[in-house]
Symmetry: D2
Subunit: 295 residues, 4 copies
């Protein structure tokens, strides 16, 4: 008799017809907070992974790509980001990247789920534990929608680090045109916003183009871009929405200077990456041009 | 966007073209002893499961079927089993069933893998912990092949509770005709042996018929039988090999009497089950009749 | 670089936490009739398989077990079955087994789905094509519920060969106590009914025990039994409901005589199998005894 | 009872611990040529897909990205490619992209597997059938290694469109430094080569960096780049090796001019894509710089 191999797998639907599966060493945590199901698993391929409501959100292997791609293009486009708001950002890695810019005096992180943040501190300490304790950090456990509507503060940069707008989830109302307009009003006159906006994989980029179109209605400058996040199943989309500065017009030497002056230590992002990721392939540019839908 | 469900799965090949997969709550243990890979997982379908070298060996849900089917037909066929040898039997459940017969004065369990037995005591205590501490139990950590060849003891019943004879595993030489003949010589004159001998699923019962034929060469009476073990992927085969008593000729009322006198508490086995499981469907009887191979 | 194997798989949920998967050689047909989704696939493990609404219904490898188990215990229990009604039975294999009894003068098969029957004739000709053309066969394409309610005919044997009563499917109302009572009234005074009633796998036999209890309310004699159908994921339950004859009380020699006289050629069923499959393991007998639910 | 969904899946290992799986509508072809296993499947996610030896090679959805990325950066970098050699290229799509440059007078395609090319013409006609019949095409069924060693011809551009160098496959010796040196000698003095060189996904880019380093030893200019190919499991690596022209130094307006003059109709590639895909993210540039291995 031949020997066959059994294994323990994490299987995640990317779409209903396309799944990815990875072997697991260990299930580190599995439970429910007040707001969502949380799983933290350890895998040979991606290291420790955070899974919320059955969607992989961060892996040790490639979270640096996601978080640098989400944070730095917007932050570097702003000449002097001092006050930054993060919506979501549970494991603290977005806060970590934000605070790595020396210009930042205050990083306000609004996450609805305190239990989740504590689980991440315990089980994913490399990702954001240190940042969550930084004296420039202000971490508030509250509904982001509520906070934004009620606050009188203005921010230089706002970063949305939220799950995709699945039906019935708390994230759903945060990706609407109305909400982007409210966010616009909470930015300083030269303020910038960035957000993840879904996969850019061919055949599956409807959310990406729809959200790009939505953001365009609420901001004078809207620049979609993408980065490869293998643990998310491929290329992933982001957007910079800006009131004044255009990330495509900032000179390369200025990016180099800002990175140096702010003391950024990066693995994914630099002046070359900045330009390259903001240049989408032709078919995506065309798909965005043709897109009429908004959320 | 529609919500899709990800999950953690244990996937096991039954054959190279037929797998079964079950969701997992928790990986309780995953490691290697000196002899084998061991995984203990907790599943919604089967409760805690013991997996050795990538093959599910015991589940909380249905181990009672496997262990009662392995032990009781042979034990009940013998009028007075006092001394019983178990080869293998890591988690102690076979010993538990053997010791549940009040006639038994000594249950000798030979398992090569002490670490495994300790892991089972710790993580699967319901299965055999109590039996392993019974004063009638003698647990020896040694190679079963070596023990059997060297011992001068004789046994009323020998029960083989070993993994399938995969190439290159320690179990491989223990399923050969030569070894069954040695086992025969270690039984008392009215001794009985039982063993699991592989799946009886249609299209996959080659090992079952081959081992049945092999055992027939070494014993005057050989009675194959089967029971449903869902966690093993379906119906599973066993055999009773006997020097004197025929399990098919023991009267129903005698089975009832022995069960009562010995104080057996069973969930799967009784006089009705005894007769039914020893009656294979016609195609299996024919396949056994046609079988010429031996191991 | 190591070589890894990809494959095409059919993956079917047995329950939401337990799936089975088999490799596929070929998808022979995939489409929808007016009533259901139909797939016919060719697999190395089971040969050609018929899948209705995502549930495997018949495989070349083991359909003989299913159809012999469904038909013969009831037919043999009846001393002279001349007129037989089949509800469902799309691929014709139940009709084939019914007509194999020489006593039968008329086999009436009521299937709602003519397209399905034609697809089976074309792609699964071995299963029932010949029977569907037999001059004793009367095949009617109509809703079984309607036919039974309206007919004035009486039958010696009625065989239900329907999918499981999933919510919202046409099969759902056919497994209710009320309908079993109507069926009772369409049987002759010594008539017998048989039906599949779901898996008997441990931990998943709720439908089996509930339907057994339901049938008991509608018939004086109700005998549940089981057979291993690997392509269905393990042991499968059936029931005989009878107005006069008890399948447990028919002498072995009488079964042998009837099989011979009626010219049955079987692979699974004979007098030994008859007795064995009608003897459930102890835990199933207990589960049936404790069952209070009905449908 | 709840309804659960079964489906037919194509499951492909990307690595031994990371698989992707997609549902299948139809298996269009499954067989073996003299050289390799061939499967052509139709999927909801990617349309028709060509699978060789269990690895997806081309899908209708995204083959345009792969083939445009493989062909155009090298072809456009050359000011006047007239004679082009393709090694491999079974389905004809690489030839199609090559011949779409009006400058090309002769496209020589060397594929070892005539049966495969015929299967592709029959079942994947959109991909390359027209190109394979173009009068500028010269299709030779021969071992690429042998052809290259023996030919006296020189080429402006050579494009390697071969499977990955798995152990023991015909492709293995074609990715060695020695062979790249031979290819160099078959290029004209300003000749250019391009090839796919494996995944660039984080944690799995060893082959990509090793081959980049290997090509650097054989050519004065070596420019690795990447593109997203969802059906390959994420971002995929390529390289341009050049004797004279550097793809990074060709002015944007010149790219625009050449695309226009040569009549290219592209969906993925243009002057913007050219620059962006040749700019790897920082961590990949660093991994290449640190790489010491060669093949």
């Amino acid at each position: 008799m031949e020997k066959l191999f059994s294994a323990v797998w994490y299987i995640e639907p990317i779409t209903k017809d396309f799944y990815q599966q990875m072997t697991i060493n260990r299930i580190i945590y599995s439970g429910r907070t007040k707001y969502q199901e949380v799983q933290i698993i350890d895998t040979p391929t991606f290291g420790r992974c955070l899974i919320l409501d059955g969607r992989l959100q961060s892996s040790e292997l490639d979270e640096f790509v996601y978080h640098e791609a989400l944070v730095h293009p917007a932050m570097i486009t702003h000449p002097n980001p001092e006050k930054v708001l993060i919506l979501g950002g549970g494991e603290g890695a977005t806060l970590r990247e934000v605070l790595s810019h020396k210009t930042v005096k205050e990083g306000v992180m609004i996450d609805i789920d305190e239990e989740l943040v504590n689980l991440c501190k315990k089980y994913l300490p490399k990702m954001g534990k240190k940042a969550l304790r930084d004296e420039r950090a202000r971490v508030i456990f509250e509904d982001g929608l509520k906070f934004v509507k009620e606050t009188n503060e203005k921010f230089d940069v706002i970063i949305m680090d939220l799950p995709e707008p699945l039906e019935g989830t708390p994230a759903e109302p945060l990706y609407k045109k109305d909400f982007f307009e409210i966010l616009n009003s909470k930015l300083t006159d030269d303020g910038i916003l960035s957000s993840q906006i879904g996969t850019t994989c061919i055949g599956a980029y409807d959310l990406f183009t729809t959200l790009t179109n939505t953001v365009k209605k609420a901001f004078p400058i809207a620049r979609p871009y993408e980065a490869n996040i293998p643990s998310f199943g491929g290329s992933w989309g982001f957007i910079i929405a800006s009131k004044k500065y255009d990330p495509l017009r900032i000179p390369e030497r200025e990016i180099i200077r800002r990175i140096r002056e702010r003391g950024l230590k990066t693995r994914f992002y630099d002046h070359k990456t900045h330009k390259a990721i903001l240049t989408l392939p032709k078919f995506l540019r065309n798909a965005i041009r043709r897109e009429k839908r908004t959320l």
